[in-house]
Amino acid sequence: MRSSKSKQRGRKQKPAPSIPTGSLLAIESFSPEEISSLLKQSAAMQSQLEKSPASRRQLTNTLAGRRVALLFYEASTRTRVSFEFAAKNLGAVTTVVHAAASSIEKGESLVDTGYTIEATGAEAIVMRHPSSGAAQLMAHYLKVPVINAGDGMHEHPTQALLDAYTMLRHKKSLRGLRVLIVGDIFHSRVARSNAQLLSKMGAHVTLCGPNELLPELAATLAPGIELQRDIDAALKTADVIMMLRVQKERLSGLNLNIEDYIRDYQLTQDRMRNAKPDAIVMHPGPMIRGMEITAEVADGPQSVIVEQVANGVPVRMAVLARALGARK
């Protein structure tokens, strides 16, 4: 498709209908089998990382010398760092491109930036972008696989995978698991990816938050999703409690009173007394202590928040191996 501009009238100008093999754009288009297989791969990666220095070294043969570009149009700490370490653990060569320090600032289009990165020899592109659908757009025009590291309010598939992976380290199955996601659902790509993944894997998903951040439409996201406005009621049955950040930067135009929000939805130790003793507390980060969650709960015995970050590495190793392995 890239040549469509130079070809004469008579070529179809629509993006090619297929996306490059190995791409990971959205959980929505993934099957439960593909999800299970990636989760299994992640576990294999982790055990090989932890077994011995020798097995860890051996991993670097997996993608030795392969080139991975990390294209970030939006700020990121954990996603960027864990993708970079994941790639390096597998022996890949990485380069990080930040929108603010590249030709993107000069007005280059997303697709042209993609062509440029591809032309320099990148074999996979990991990208984060503030526009929903940006990864999809890129994948339509490129030949190399595109891995979505978060696109606007749409999806953040590797986060949902690492969340599921973390749940499985504490719970025996996703099927039948009761997962409560609390907070700014509307603006959250993490919530969308998690709702899609958990619904596909047979978990019970309850979304919780005020109307401004959780419109009734959210129930249409995936089969079997429930909405609950009362966090205390919802906490009682949850096996997993996932707190989301209120995205202040996206709130323009909404009438949301922060004090009301804290009163009604903050996860406190007091509230945690309602929860099951074996419920785990998760947060995709970045976390604002004192806002959606108190420090006591974030650092408390039921919290697996730090472990989530750590699990990002083996999960992203599995995703990269799939992306680049599939092209051989």
Binding site: Q13, K14, S109, V111, L137
Partner: protein
């Protein structure tokens, strides 16, 4: 566009449908000196020196009129020009188009208005400008309605930048009413739609896109109807897209308010789900709505509460549409597919008689913007004729489009019903068999 030197043209053997004259029969039509000279039962017109157009098996209609197009000139010639836009219009069977004022600069004064209509622009169909209601379409100060009308404007609008202030809208009605022309409103409460790029619904939620609510349209329609009632002005609602707004229009009509409305082919054919995985050729404003609204548009057309079909032809260059969905401009082309879609959806699927189709695409639009001697084939009328084959099967391919831009969701669609020839002022400006495809 008169052509005194041309030979008369006799359109012979076709089925003439002229709703304004209540004609629906096999007739011959003689065009001479840019006018309809004679219309009579087939075989009865004697015209020795006339060129003959054999219309056997075809439908002969008064030239189609599109009251909502964006020709992008002056200022955005990379998207479309008056020449390329009118070429697309001719290929789509339109003999007249009304062009919106959101050019660069905005058509808010008689100089630009006259420039658009100058022969040097190379229009091959009639172009009637709709001028800006406020200077620069900024919604603050009214333009000189009388001077703009005298220089050829047939209506007033700030299309794309809806007039939100009551006083400005009221003043627009008052100025337009004195001149007997409509105020055309793109009904969107832009205070409610910031950052929105599609319809609010399950699809927008799933895709993580901000959605425009139904109320953002219907609220403005309700307000405008109140002001039309108050001033006695003629409100024309552009590209209506929601059941709620249509219900409001229907009630106002019953109450005797002078309100008319148009709907685009895409709003009575497509739904928001078709945005699929962020296809920007399905992004326009108003956005594609859900099934209930789409079906309400069909019902409105069937029962006659919608007055006209108009395209909102809105060309954009490939590089503009090849962007992130929320950054890509809104709008799709439509001149070359409007008749085919209308025939397919309304005539073939919903059994709407051709007479009603021609009312929606010709006689009603002519009345709406006061085009005298158009939208009919009565003797003395302008010799603007559209000849089409309602049963001809064809495939629309953007590569064949005459528009400079190819941003249409209908690429590759199969249609039943095709334009055979378009005649403007007695001259064939498009013929399917002679088209250089």
């Amino acid at each position: 566009m008169t052509n005194q030197q041309e030979r008369p043209l006799l359109i012979r053997g076709g089925h003439v449908i002229d709703p304004a004259a209540n004609t629906d029969a096999k007739m011959d039509v003689l065009l001479r000196d840019g006018r309809v000279a004679e219309i009579a039962p087939s075989g009865t017109i004697v015209a020795k020196y006339a060129e003959v157009f054999d219309a056997t098996g075809l439908t002969v209609a008064p030239g189609l009129i599109d009251i909502h197009v964006h020709l992008r000139q002056p200022g955005q010639e990379y998207k479309e020009t008056i020449a390329t836009g009118t070429a697309a219009a001719a290929a789509g069977g339109f003999t007249s188009v009304c062009c919106m004022p959101n050019t660069v600069p905005v058509n808010d004064n008689p100089e630009i208005n006259a420039w658009i209509q100058a022969p040097e622009r190379g229009a091959i169909v009639n172009v009637f400008p709709i001028a800006a209601a406020t200077v620069g379409s900024m919604g603050v100060r009214l333009t000189d309605f009388a001077a703009l009308k005298n220089s050829g404007a047939v209506g007033f609008t700030d299309d794309g930048k809806p007039i939100l202030h009551d006083d400005i809208m009221r003043a627009s009605f008052q100025a337009a009413t004195k001149l007997g022309v409509p105020v055309i409103q793109h009904a969107e409460d832009t205070r409610l739609t910031g950052g929105c790029s599609m319809n609010l619904g399950p699809t927008s939620f799933r895709l993580g896109l901000r959605g425009m609510s139904i109320e953002a349209e219907s609220g403005i329609v309700e307000r405008d109807i109140r002001l039309a009632r108050e001033t006695g002005g003629h409100l024309h609602v552009a590209h209506l897209s929601t059941k709620k707004a249509l219900d409001t229009v229907r009630r106002a009509k019953q109450d005797g308010v002078h309100v008319t409305c148009e709907v685009t082919p895409h709003h009575f054919t497509l739904i928001d789900e078709y945005v699929g995985e962020y296809d920007t050729n399905f992004k326009m404003n108003p956005p594609l709505r859900g099934t209930a609204d789409r079906d309400a548009m069909l019902e409105g057309l069937l029962e006659g509460s919608i007055d006209a079909v108009a395209t909102d032809h809105a060309p954009h260059a490939l590089h503009e549409k090849q962007q992130e969905f929320d950054r890509a401009p809104m709008g799709i082309t439509g001149l070359e597919t409007a008749l085919a879609i209308t025939l397919q959806v309304l005539h073939h699927h919903r059994k709407v008689p051709l007479k009603q189709i021609i009312e929606l695409l010709s006689s009603n639009p002519a009345k709406l913007v006061g085009l005298k001697g158009r939208g009919t084939l009565s003797p003395g009328a302008h010799a603007d004729v559209t000849i089409f084959d309602p049963n001809k099967k064809w495939k629309f391919e953007t590569q064949d489009s005459r528009s400079k831009s190819k941003n249409t969701p209908f690429d590759g669609w199969d249609f039943t019903g095709a334009v055979t020839a378009t005649i403007v002022s007695g001259k064939v400006v498009y013929h399917r068999d002679r088209a250089n495809r």
